[in-house]
Symmetry: C2
Subunit: 258 residues, 2 copies
């Protein structure tokens, strides 16, 4: 990886259902920064990807189950929203007012990633059905049309334990590694590094979020230029098992107060 | 905030105990990118700051208590390291092999931030005693010597719940806001935003980590240039109460399996 890079926001305007996000991003990149370059990493907001894929749920078509009513009452969430969250989750592990904490595809996820902000009125957008596949499809289209190889990350904005505010997280990745293992490398004093895995895709999603914002900027995409990550047929964001997770291990299975 | 910015790694070499980190960073910035510019945000690895402040603990001087022995045995941690972690924590809330999960200053923190990597041999580095004060002191020195106003963030590298690999987190901040509140702004469709807080300091720490690395790059600092954050007498990284935290709320107080 290189010692410097640039982050360039792409103000595409609103992406509508069924529209090719790849085409819009290529046009905007040409206007913003002379088009894509070899090794660029494109970061896309998951809401924009879900919208372009038509993955939009109208709340007036949802009939909440008693379980959704109960969770909605308990955590002050629209029971129709709670119903969509239940349908999108593998399991619900808890909640606070306004949010259910869900497990989905091996990741802890507030409201299972179902988003009401930046969705059309009366609607919510679940996460893209297969974010890695979305990333690959967008990457291949851009690579074919521009002739350069790139990486694509689908990013979400999330809170972390005991942190105030949202930061960027990668939920889909294609063309670059999501985690880089420094195992075997040495620290400043020549010892083997203990903590050896770097979540580069999460860091890139966070770097991009600084120019993407969450309000009405209409900037659902950014290019990370010059970072020097290895390109290739990498697919997906590596996750861990709950038993390997310090937070899950501490709270869910093995809670001890010393 | 602007729609693009640059991230520039500063390869200062090893920072030693008692050395002025501000001076080293100014020298390195002059060589790397023509020196500091108004509005730059300097990100510093907490280990380098702790080392420069002489905040280094020699393990052969530590006598572990029975509690440290017990935690060390249970989680396969050097009991002397466990002792330092206990001393640095407000409370220990759990663990997995190799790590204790700690509360410290309102934040959940693996090993209370005590780091063995990149510390001198036989030593560990606790977090800087007051990271906000460290950030302010370094900021004032650089501002006096260069004549430009900057922000300073002290960054740590941490795992998050159910994520593989470490990403950057801000533990100290001075001169820029750590969280930006978008309350009152509208989403793409003109509705008030629901999730309104952006953890800009955490995002900046993550962006910087991509060029800082954790191995023997000797790059414990980076400049974020052109981001356009408001400058001023901002101090500290805003945190939340455990009762407001989705993760703590779900696991620690109110665990329910639906």
């Amino acid at each position: 990886m290189n010692s410097s890079y640039e982050v360039l926001g792409l103000a595409t305007g609103i992406i509508t259902s069924g529209e090719s996000i790849a085409e819009r991003v290529i046009e905007t990149a040409e206007k913003t920064c002379g088009g894509f370059e070899e090794g660029d990493v494109l970061v896309l907001a998951e809401t924009a990807v879900a919208t372009s894929e038509g993955n939009i749920v109208r709340l007036d078509k949802i009939a909440p189950t008693p379980k959704a009513q109960e969770l909605g009452d308990k955590y002050r969430i629209d029971p129709r929203m709670a119903e969509v969250v239940i349908q999108e989750s593998d399991s619900i592990v808890g909640g606070i007012p306004g949010f259910l904490l869900c497990m989905k595809g091996g990741t802890l996820l507030p409201n299972a990633g179902v988003d009401a902000s930046n969705a059309p009125p009366g609607c919510v957008t679940p996460l893209p059905a297969d974010p890695d596949q979305s990333a690959t499809s967008i990457r291949k289209t851009i690579e074919e049309k521009t002739g350069v190889r790139i990486g694509v990350i689908i990013a979400d904005s999330r809170t972390h334990a005991m942190r105030l505010g949202c930061s960027g997280v990668a939920i889909g990745s294609s063309g670059i590694p999501s985690v880089i293992n420094d195992q075997g490398r040495s620290d400043l004093f020549g010892r083997k590094l203990e903590v050896t895995k770097r979540a580069v895709a999460d860091n890139i999603a966070s770097a991009a979020e600084l120019v993407m914002g969450e309000a009405d900027e209409c900037t659902p995409a950014a290019i990370i230029r010059g970072i020097g990550l290895p390109l290739g047929d990498h697919l997906g964001v590596e996750t861990i098992d709950a038993t390997e997770c310090l937070f899950m291990g501490a709270f869910a299975k093995n809670r001890t107060q010393w």
